[in-house]
Symmetry: C2
Subunit: 323 residues, 2 copies
Amino acid sequence: MISVTSLFDPIDKDLLTLTSNLKNLISARHPILGAAAEHLFGAGGKRVRPAIVLLVSRATMVDQDITPRHRRLAEITEMIHTASLVHDDVVDEAQMRRNVPTVNSIFDNRIAILAGDFLFAQSSWYLANLDNLEVVKLLSTVIRDFAEGEIKQGLTKFDTSLSLEAYLEKSYYKTASLIANSAKAASILSNVLPEVADNIYAYGRNVGLAFQIVDDILDFTSSSEVLGKPSASDLISGHLTAPVLYAMEEKPQLKVLIEKEFSNEGDIDLALNLVYESNGIQKAKDLAANHAQLALKHLDCLESTPSTKVLMELPEYVISRIY
Amino acid sequence: MISVTSLFDPIDKDLLTLTSNLKNLISARHPILGAAAEHLFGAGGKRVRPAIVLLVSRATMVDQDITPRHRRLAEITEMIHTASLVHDDVVDEAQMRRNVPTVNSIFDNRIAILAGDFLFAQSSWYLANLDNLEVVKLLSTVIRDFAEGEIKQGLTKFDTSLSLEAYLEKSYYKTASLIANSAKAASILSNVLPEVADNIYAYGRNVGLAFQIVDDILDFTSSSEVLGKPSASDLISGHLTAPVLYAMEEKPQLKVLIEKEFSNEGDIDLALNLVYESNGIQKAKDLAANHAQLALKHLDCLESTPSTKVLMELPEYVISRIY
């Protein structure tokens, strides 16, 4: 399995600059938010989203250096992502994210709402000051899609009539929209032709979907450090993802358990076993692999650069997490 | 005392259109948010902020009709304002606002955070689609100022070293920034000269400050329907406003009570009496009147229209609430 650190080699320094800029942008203004920023932008994050922005920037600038606006766009992308995580954690009353305590658990809901609002507000402001209306439109669509996705997710809890299409739409809002639109925006800052920008968008959309599907599979297959077994947190909270949607087609009893919202003791273990007995996980893996392959097809428009090479390897890396 | 309904006569129909558009913009997409929207944009709101946008629009278009973009800007202004109120109420754990239960109290924090995020997100998106970078910048500054103001307010609770300047800055972030920047944006959509736009901004800034100071005075002088006496909610929660800042200069004991955060029973009544015994409220009234007068001076740049007349009467109306 490729490590993400070596994968991002061509933009190593760019990512270090990004992290230090992000900490400065937030903490310079407010000590309290500074503590949250240190926590949010500190060690641990994989920075996949800004990395894609930086890679697309380098791949489309070819022999020239990337501009301060490309860097700022990468920072905005991470700020929007982080803001959405902070509010998500308040909404979901989450205590931990990736083995790190959430802002709402370390501080309180008040600070977490303010920190999220502040990050959204700062990113809107930096965005406007990139002085490119098309880029502003692309990223404001992302912010809207996030809100849309969160609401859709809330409305479809334990809803066994959720279709695979609706699941993919939700995943687009939640994850792929940011990756697709910010990647496209990076290419626009490099003044590429419209058809190149559209291909970059399609690449980002498919990588983003693969990424989300893989995340949803890992919730069933990867042992959590705390539990020593998969947490299946999505299923428990009623978020039906690809493995469950496929499994329900084979196991009608699973549907019944979900509709009863696991009201009897042991229902969750029963449901989990039905998912594992079915081909749901395998079918979800195929779905992710399919989107990873689709992504690749959209990179022919790019010249051969070290960053282009990484963009070509990224879909495979995403998929390698489930193999 | 002039009633606000008759004051806004020239834009009566515009405000009706605005209210129905706002309800549609939100509720068309989500039934749950629809309920919140009905609650938020339903009867009761005075719509002062979008009214100023519409009045500036009409006053700067003179004989021509205002454009759909002027109307959209007024809607965006009210959406941003409402979003900030919804999140404020979660942060402050408020149960009531202007005698109406808050979104967080009727629904829950989850829905209130999502509704606020959705309103901010929708407004960013509509904003970008006004296709005017200068307007995008002005309004994104407002969103940033809101977050800044909320944080500043949180950090200066019970802080008796707060200066009048810092209080005015906080009031600018909280209230005047939206009024000033959205009014300026309306004039920019009418293609006015830069110096006219700057005067409109200065008008909005001063009206906004007067508005906030008056609100802060009313917290000490106006009987709440529920309590039958002034609620003094700002003082109780440690938000030091103009009447208190002035009163502290005369009554050192008030400072002590605040610094102890009213830890003994009866401290709040004691503190309130000190405010009433001092000239704090009168000095705050003078401060508000001063900003109302300053506002007026910036309207000479406008041609004489029915809307200009209302803009000229508005500062006096704001002040009349405390006399």
